[in-house]
Symmetry: C2
Subunit: 322 residues, 2 copies
């Protein structure tokens, strides 16, 4: 049976999975990223663990390749470049490191692009040629597929929708600029909005029972689900900012569908409803009532590993198409 190996390098853990073409995870494992001060040792330990998983499976497996999703992953170079949340400094050549342990094609990309390819190969974007995925977690990431291919750009760093500026002189962003989408539409941005709206308004809200330090995105979603007016207003404001950014992005790539993924997407229809409403209001007439917005089909639990493994399946598909 043909399988691919998906690895999701994260700041704390780096899970992996042995994945079939249908997205079934035959085996999985994980190493603790923080335990390894140098990336050679990390790659050795991870490769060792993968080899053990493969031998435990015991089946006749034809391994097509390894896909790696990593923060700041550079697809063209096969490197991680200056990832702030990883224990290794500077540029890490992932392909070179893993080639010491596997004689297989190795593909690298960043987290949001992996989620996008995952949606393409295993999720709701199957068969679409033009779509985008927006990941709404601690930060905001995105991936754009046009003409059936992921847009990497000339340097592999395309798809930073989270760092398009949507408000002139808006909120301070971790990137050093102001008003990026990420400061409004990430879970962190949602909490900033909550803080501001709780301070500005004097209306009753169950959110006031929780200290700001303790308040989570889930609390806001739960309160909104119970009809808490202020929580609904917070989601509405967030949806409006997100919708604005999506409507501008549509004018560039004109996708057939937009898939939302990550922590914020858990709010489901409470976020999707107002997002769709504002989105249609903002859109240029050419695009109105044409572009679907949906919650991703992938679960947060295994999307990263599936997405990384999907890099391999996607390459296989591209080679068949030639």
């Amino acid at each position: 049976m043909e399988v691919s190996i998906g690895i999701d390098i994260g700041g704390t853990n780096s899970p992996y999975g042995i994945v079939t073409e249908k997205g079934e995870v035959l085996a999985k494992g994980s190493v603790k990223t923080r335990d390894y001060n140098n990336p050679e040792e990390f790659a050795r330990a991870l490769s060792q663990s993968i080899k053990e998983s493969l031998s435990e499976l015991g089946e006749e497996l034809q391994i097509l390749g390894i896909g790696i999703g990593a923060p700041n992953g550079n697809h063209y170079q096969g490197t991680i470049e200056f990832a702030p949340n990883l224990p290794w400094k500077g540029v890490v050549n992932l392909i070179a490191l893993f080639q010491q342990h596997f004689t297989l094609p190795i593909y690298v990309t960043n987290d949001a692009n992996a989620a996008t390819i995952g949606e393409y190969v295993f999720g709701k974007a199957k068969g679409l040629k033009d779509f985008m995925v927006v990941t709404l977690g601690t930060g905001v990431g995105s991936g754009f597929v046009s003409n059936g291919e992921l847009i990497y750009g000339h340097d592999s760093f395309a798809g930073e929708l989270g760092h398009t500026i949507i408000v002139h002189d808006g909120r301070d962003c971790a990137c050093g600029r102001k008003g990026c989408l990420e400061t409004y539409a990430s879970v962190t941005g949602l909490l900033r909005t909550a803080q501001i709206m709780l301070a500005k308004s004097s209306q009753h809200s169950i959110l006031r029972n929780t200290s700001m330090d303790q308040l989570s995105g889930k609390d806001i979603g739960d309160a909104a689900a119970q009809g808490d007016k202020l929580a609904l207003d917070i989601l509405d404001y967030t949806a409006k900012r997100l919708a604005f950014s999506l409507s501008n992005a549509v004018a560039i790539t004109s996708p057939e569908a937009i898939f939302l993924f990550g922590g914020m997407a858990r709010a489901g229809d409470l976020l999707l409803g107002p997002t769709k409403k504002y989105f249609e209001e903002y859109l240029l007439h050419l695009y109105k009532n044409k572009v679907r917005i949906e919650i991703s089909a992938l679960t947060e639990q295994n999307a990263a590993v599936l997405g990384a493994s999907a890099l391999v399946w996607n390459e296989k598909k591209a080679q068949h198409a030639q």
Copy 2:
């Protein structure tokens, strides 16, 4: 010799050219669009004129195809859809009309995409895989090439950078919305900026010698070239708005270069200088000092016909690559 036919359907005139692979125009002609109340007659007259040009050339020509650039041209359907500046209403099937006169492959696209493919085949974008073209004329159009292919989007209407909203509640746009890039960075937008700044400021300017009705983009460029402070401020403001929009677009497709074309681009370094300065200021650190902005290599005079003919050469190239 292999040639392609490029047709540029415009509101007043529809010029065409017989173009070689190197961009040499062997023969050209034109029909008056407004003379034809129905598109069948228009296509017949234009085809007749093209056939005469071909027979006058008298050489052994192998005609590879016809490329047509038209307002609201739909690449997938081969149609013009509800173009406000043309004498024909509704949807016009260009491919069907011209196939009555030529047994050749026929490709249709809109003006800005034709300019983009023209830059790709004949201009400064030769050999690039990721770039964008922005046309700064009466309106603002754009074309994006990623992975070596023009982004048409699922409906052929991608690349409307002019209708991304860059100022919340900004200037009224002809599209019915507010704050679109087009209301600031088109020649019309430049004149609106001039009107506002002339009214707001009391400083001396040679622009005050011309009535607002008479003032042209060229007047502002000329005044700026002579060091007129207010004219320079007008260009600076325009450049800042344009740069903002370009920096956001870069975060989506990460192009290697951006080419500016059209009336505004005639201001040359007077526009390019401040645009580059603000662009670098606005860019996310990832993209700084990596993306060239240049004036297009194509002249306004023949870019539309060359761009239309380039559709054919580009298809030839794509077929060879497969």
